[in-house]
């Protein structure tokens, strides 16, 4: 039977200090025409489509599709006030129109307007593109243009090619932080000092159980040029990836911040549902400025998972941060999955491919 209606909820509660707090993150009904001609969501959910930035709303989102590849979306609602705070009844509304071309390219145009106390806090027109002209090539891009304070608020592009054990992605972005703030904020009027990033990420499966991942980017942050990069190696201890060892080295060198970090991980299955894991990170800032010469962090955890769906984990975490010279915490995590333990794909990929 094809499902046409679903309900989803996510509620959390916690006690971050002496007070107990909580919130409803998701509470939405999703209705779908069985063949996909239309679908609608109503309730509390995260709205993100086209170049519209993700925003959590209490509202509705309707999508209509045509077999020739046209899509029309419209949405509206009240932006969520966290932690059951006082409602100001601000609202947002917008939509997106998209067309699929030659079964390989999707072009979309979106619009969103958001108001706070009656004033426009965000008004953007966006365009998005996705193309997969060949099985080995994926291209995607979007740009959002700020109508209130005319200029490009954000643009991102990515092109990835895959062949054999390699994957190479080229990416670029431009962000104008002043335009990403609500236009009702005083700090949105300071002018446009955008930052640009251009870089590449390479993934190489050097051996069936060994993945090497490297990424590097050059950044122009408000006229100051810098860059960042990292190298990560992950070795699976078995074909199924149940255990793994990993190491990552990272360097950030942009105006305003320079630091080097090293991270190592180990996850070792002990049998009978037990698993030991450990993670260590050390960050060394170039200019400590009295915040400590290095910021080490470490975590060791022992977890046990039952077939009935129970999982219990205990961990010790210790660190030295710019805020705290020494800090140690004991963590306990207990969970139960309704319906028993989730079926996991034994080798990670789609019915049979080692990840």
């Amino acid at each position: 039977m094809r499902s046409w209606v679903g309900v989803e909820g996510l509620v959390w509660a916690g006690a971050p200090s002496s007070t107990v707090t909580g919130d409803v993150l998701v509470l939405a009904v999703r209705v779908r025409e069985p063949h996909g001609y239309a679908e609608a969501r109503a309730g509390r959910f995260v709205l993100a489509t086209g170049a519209v930035h993700p925003v959590q709303i209490d509202g509705a989102h309707v999508i209509a599709r045509a077999p020739w590849g046209s899509t029309v979306e419209t949405f509206g609602g009240l932006p969520v006030v966290p932690r059951f705070g006082a409602r100001s009844y601000d609202w947002l509304a917008g939509g997106r129109v998209a067309q699929k071309l030659a079964n390989a390219v999707t072009l979309g145009v979106s619009y969103v307007q958001r108001r706070e106390d009656g004033d426009i806090s965000n008004e953007e027109v966006g365009a998005d593109l996705a193309a997969a002209p060949a099985r080995w090539l994926d291209v995607a891009a979007f740009g959002a243009y700020d109508v209130t304070s005319p200029g490009l608020a954000e643009a991102r592009a990515s092109a990835a090619v895959r062949w054999s054990d390699w994957r190479v992605e080229l990416f670029g972005s431009q962000m104008s932080p002043g335009r990403l703030l609500p236009a009702t904020s005083l700090f949105s009027v300071l002018g446009d000092l955008a930052s640009q990033t251009v870089g590449a990420t390479v993934r190489w499966r050097a051996a069936p159980r060994l993945d090497l991942l490297a990424s590097g980017a050059t950044q122009d942050v408000a006229g100051g040029v810098g860059g960042n990069g990292w190298l990560r190696a992950t070795l699976r201890l078995d074909d199924r990836g149940a255990g793994s060892l990993g190491v990552e080295v990272r360097r950030v060198d942009v105006p305003g911040t320079q630091w080097t970090g090293v991270r190592a991980i180990a996850a070792v299955p002990l049998g009978k549902g037990f698993r030991y894991s450990s993670e260590i990170e050390i960050v060394v800032p170039d200019n400590p400025d009295g915040r400590g010469a290095a910021w080490p962090w470490g975590l060791s955890a022992l977890s046990w998972r039952s077939l009935a769906g129970w999982e219990i984990a205990g961990a010790l975490e210790a660190s030295s941060t710019p805020q705290q010279r020494y800090e140690a915490d004991a963590l306990v995590h207990l969970s139960y999955a309704l319906g028993g333990a989730a079926q996991s794909h034994p080798v990670g990929g789609q019915y049979g491919t080692p990840r």
Binding site: P54, P82, V189, A222, W297, L302, H345, P346, T353
Partner: protein, 345 residues
């Protein structure tokens, strides 16, 4: 000479160990089933997989048991079950998952391919466990499914994609640095993402007042998870924010910083100013333009009056607008313009 021989032997042992660790050599007693050897002997697939031509969408798998093997292998070389060594156990497990999660039946397909199983099981002869089951790309070789793809109608084949949890490996590959990449990938295909992903997953990061301690974020045992906030993020979060101005706004509202700092007791009137000496008369303007979010996180809302005190029209702070600044707002009536340009200023 003896030293050189010892060195070679040590090297060989190390290489053999590496081959096992890297997955170049399997050291388990089980191994991929010898499909190729059976085909070369002229054995038709259905001689062993006898039930396949009548198997429906549900029911037992069409894997042969020991009795089927012993029809030919009359004198087994071992007392154990044949399948304990011949055939990787997780291939069977993957097939069971596929049976549970896919709408598929062999008989109609066997008619279409005229009994030529290799049309779908294209790489079954290769002695690798991951090649036994056909990939989705193989399905798409005959079934274009363009309309279903366009209409996001996956239910025709997939029982419930959201519960299935199978990462795609030949389309929409979540590879490389996908945490960074997913935003641009999702822009044109959010509803496609929603075929598998729930709103809960989006809200755990993009929710207003983002929750720091949802269960899957506290996956203490899964250290291989990547993500922006893994490991000692608290120590380096200020550096991360400086390295990519505006990135935090992707998930966090401008009040997130001060909310958290207040909870952690590192903000408020009792704390000394975080700004260096001479900040107000020095570079605060330049820094504010680079990352206005940082300023807004503490000085937003009522705190904006601190800026207005100096930068209102005619004030000692001068014009705060950057070069080329334009706005369509009414400077006397709209927020935030009226704070400085309002009637009477």
């Amino acid at each position: 000479m003896r030293t050189r021989l010892s060195l070679v032997m040590v090297l060989a042992v190390v290489l053999a160990a590496c081959a096992s660790v890297l997955g170049l050599r399997h050291d388990l007693p089980s191994h991929p089933f010898e499909h190729r050897a059976h085909v070369l002997k002229g054995i038709n697939c259905v001689e062993c997989h006898a039930d396949v031509s009548s198997a429906g969408e549900t029911g037992p798998l069409h894997f042969p048991d020991d009795a089927v093997c012993r029809r030919c292998h009359e004198k087994p070389h071992d007392n154990r079950s044949c399948t304990s060594c011949h055939g990787e156990p997780y291939v069977r497990q993957a097939a069971e998952l596929a049976r549970a999660q896919l709408r598929f039946e062999h008989p109609t397909h066997m008619i279409a391919v005229r009994g030529d199983c290799v049309r779908c099981h294209t790489q079954v002869a290769e002695a690798r466990p991951e090649t036994v089951l056909p990939k989705m790309a193989t399905c798409f070789g005959c079934h274009q499914h363009r309309d279903q793809w366009t209409m996001r109608d996956c239910d025709g084949c997939h029982v419930n994609l959201r519960d299935e949890g199978a990462p795609p490996d030949d389309h929409l590959v979540h590879d490389g640095d996908f945490v960074r990449e997913h935003g641009v990938r999702a822009a044109s295909a959010r509803d496609l993402c929603a075929s598998c992903h729930t709103d809960r997953q989006c809200a755990s990061c993009h929710g207003e007042g983002t929750v720091p301690a949802l269960p899957w974020k506290l996956a203490l045992g899964d250290v291989s998870l990547s993500g922006l906030h893994r490991a000692g993020f608290i120590a380096r979060h200020a550096e991360e924010a400086r390295a990519d101005p505006g990135l935090c706004t992707t998930c966090h509202s401008e009040s997130s910083c001060v909310d958290c700092h207040t909870r952690q007791n590192v903000a408020g009137t009792s704390v000394r100013s975080p700004h260096p000496p001479g900040w107000a008369s020095g570079e605060h303007g330049v820094q504010a333009r680079i990352d206005p979010m940082s300023c807004a996180s503490c000085h937003g809302g009522a705190g904006e009056q601190l800026c207005v005190g100096c930068h209102s029209v005619g004030g000692p702070g001068g014009n705060p607008h950057g070069p080329g600044f334009t706005s369509h707002k009414d400077e006397h009536h709209d927020l935030p313009c009226r704070l400085c340009h309002g009637v009477g200023r």
